[in-house]
């Protein structure tokens, strides 16, 4: 087994909102808080958000849900068991990279999940810069809807959404495990395509309204060049 650790920065090009859910309410708290580290209280990007978004974008890009009729679910090993369908080799990379849920049909073919997406924590420089500028690590954005008859704000539509402001930088780390029979270059290239798609799409909630635009900067210069040259 070989492990390659890929590190870099996720730089926010617009406000990011990854919701913390409504598991608890704080008096005077914002309606839609962002997820924060339980100990430090700083916002972070969960590994599950990065992994899930990249996986879903790759599945859209490779037209997986149409080819294998996944009914809106993530691609699983069981979807590739229909022998009447032509299974494309590249599609198997999705399961190798991101894993599958348990299935009797999953004999040793796909193996274990190859990637490990760690939580991306906000870096110290960003914390200092944000605290200096605004005194806090998040911003509150107010939004309303327009009443189509009156042309003014719709009654009851005012809402407050917490976001991590534009410019904040998060350190991310992805480990890629490969085994002797794996095609490392193919897995790496699929992963880089996923990152490329992420920069064209959005991370977190309200992506269609401009939230969550990000750019990626890999620490390894060669990898950064390879990433910039990646064509979709």
């Amino acid at each position: 087994m070989n492990i390659k650790n890929i590190t870099g920065k996720i730089i926010l090009e617009s406000g990011l909102h990854i919701g913390a859910g409504d598991s608890e309410m704080h008096i005077g708290g914002v309606d839609n808080p962002v997820i924060k580290d339980a100990i430090s209280g700083r916002p972070y990007i969960p590994g599950s958000s990065i992994k899930g978004k990249i996986r879903s974008l790759l599945e859209y890009y490779m037209n997986i849900h149409m080819k294998y009729n996944t009914k809106g679910q993530p691609l699983q090993a069981k979807h590739l068991e229909d022998e009447s369908k032509k299974i494309e080799e590249n599609d198997k990379d999705i399961i190798k990279l991101f894993g599958t849920s348990g299935s009797d049909s999953n004999k040793h073919e796909f193996g274990i999940t190859r990637t490990i997406f760690s939580d991306a924590h906000i870096n110290e420089a960003s914390v200092k810069s944000l605290e200096l500028k605004t005194g806090q690590l998040t911003e509150i954005k107010a939004e309303t809807a327009i009443d189509r008859v009156k042309g003014t704000a719709l009654n009851g539509s005012l809402r407050f959404i917490e976001r991590v402001p534009r410019g904040a930088e998060f350190n991310f780390s992805v480990s890629l495990k490969t085994f002797p029979n794996d095609d490392f270059d193919s897995l790496k290239s699929t992963l880089l395509k996923g990152f490329k798609l992420l920069t064209l799409d959005a991370l977190g909630g309200s992506g269609s309204r401009g939230y969550g635009r990000v750019s990626i900067k890999f620490d390894d210069e060669n990898l950064q060049k390879e990433f910039e040259d990646t064509k979709l």
Partner: protein, 309 residues
């Protein structure tokens, strides 16, 4: 008894408790991924295990031994109130230093209560809400509703001590490498989402002598059934185990439930009890897969407890 000791610093939240049998399973799978021959390593596992590991013990402290204590609430009204309040304080002190347990010449119920301490806050369990993107709607709704998971987050000062015994000392390098690899890749639930990662700070050798000792304090979960011990004080724990690695996703991932004694069991027996540097037994045929092995062994430290009449 010679053990190795490693200092572990968590570098990410944990999704699974770092208990001995979990860590053992993870180490065995990692050794397999490293290309080691498992059938050779596990050949004599029933009689002389190649590796026995402990729980990750926070700040080198273990669970307080489950020795029965007699606690009388009597006296004047104010005394009773004070004693009841004190009882809550005592209950909060549920850890005891491994070194103190070993070095104290003669332990008894009162001494154990006296030596027990509450840990400094080093972790926090938090509910994380997750959801999945529906590929048809592009949103998280429509049958893909959010669900909560619980992760344990650690403070910067959190630190664990991990003990392990290796039958053949020439295997030390291999185990060291496997442990460091697990630290990088994580263990347990959601390892692919960065859970269960740690850094191994240092390795050390440590020796415990059973001289003038009469009891065993276990450093990990142990399967007690069929063992010849005179008395045992422990907290039972049912392990609803799961297979790891590829077998976690191959169908039939579950193991049969197994009742074990939680770390911190106190066992009394004759001198034979110290004959091996570990106690317990191997567990096999625990699941659909015939070659399954579960660590039912535990490391221990010899201690001296005043025998009550």
């Amino acid at each position: 008894m010679k053990y190795y000791k490693a200092k572990i610093k968590p570098t990410s939240p944990f999704g699974t408790n770092p208990m001995s049998d979990t860590i053992f399973g993870q180490l065995v799978w990692t050794l397999s991924d490293m290309g080691e021959d498992l059938s050779k390593l596990l050949a004599d596992y029933d009689t002389s295990p190649f590796l026995v590991v402990s729980d990750f013990l926070p700040f080198n402290m273990g669970n307080v031994p489950k020795i029965p204590t007699i606690y009388k609430v009597e006296g004047a009204k104010n005394d009773k109130i004070n004693k009841i309040l004190e009882r809550k304080k005592i209950k909060a002190k549920n850890y005891i230093s491994i070194e103190t347990l070993y070095s104290t010449a003669s332990l008894n119920k009162n001494k154990i209560v006296e030596l027990a301490q509450a840990l400094v806050k080093f972790n926090k369990s938090a509910e994380i809400i997750r959801c999945s993107i529906n590929r048809k709607t592009g949103t998280t709704g429509d049958g893909f509703d959010p669900y909560p998971v619980y992760d344990t987050f650690f403070t910067d000062n959190a630190e664990f001590t991990f003990y392990f015994y290796i039958a053949d000392e020439s295997n030390f390098g291999m185990i060291q490498e496997a442990l460091e690899l697990i630290g990088k890749t994580g263990f347990g639930r959601d390892a692919s989402l960065g859970r269960g990662q740690f850094e191994v700070l240092e390795f050390d050798e440590i020796e415990f002598s059973p001289e003038n000792k009469n009891a065993i304090y276990t450093l990990g979960n142990v399967a007690l059934e069929g063992l010849s011990v005179e008395r045992a004080y422990y907290e039972p724990f049912t392990r609803f185990g799961r297979h790891g690695n590829i077998r976690a996703v191959m169908g039939n991932p579950f193991k049969n439930p197994l009742v074990m004694a939680l770390q911190g069991a106190l066992l009394f027996g004759d001198n034979n009890i110290f004959s091996k540097p570990y106690i317990g037994k191997s567990i096999r045929k625990l699941s659909y897969y015939g070659d399954t092995v579960q660590q039912g062994y535990s490391l221990y430290i010899p201690i001296n407890v005043e025998v009550q009449p």
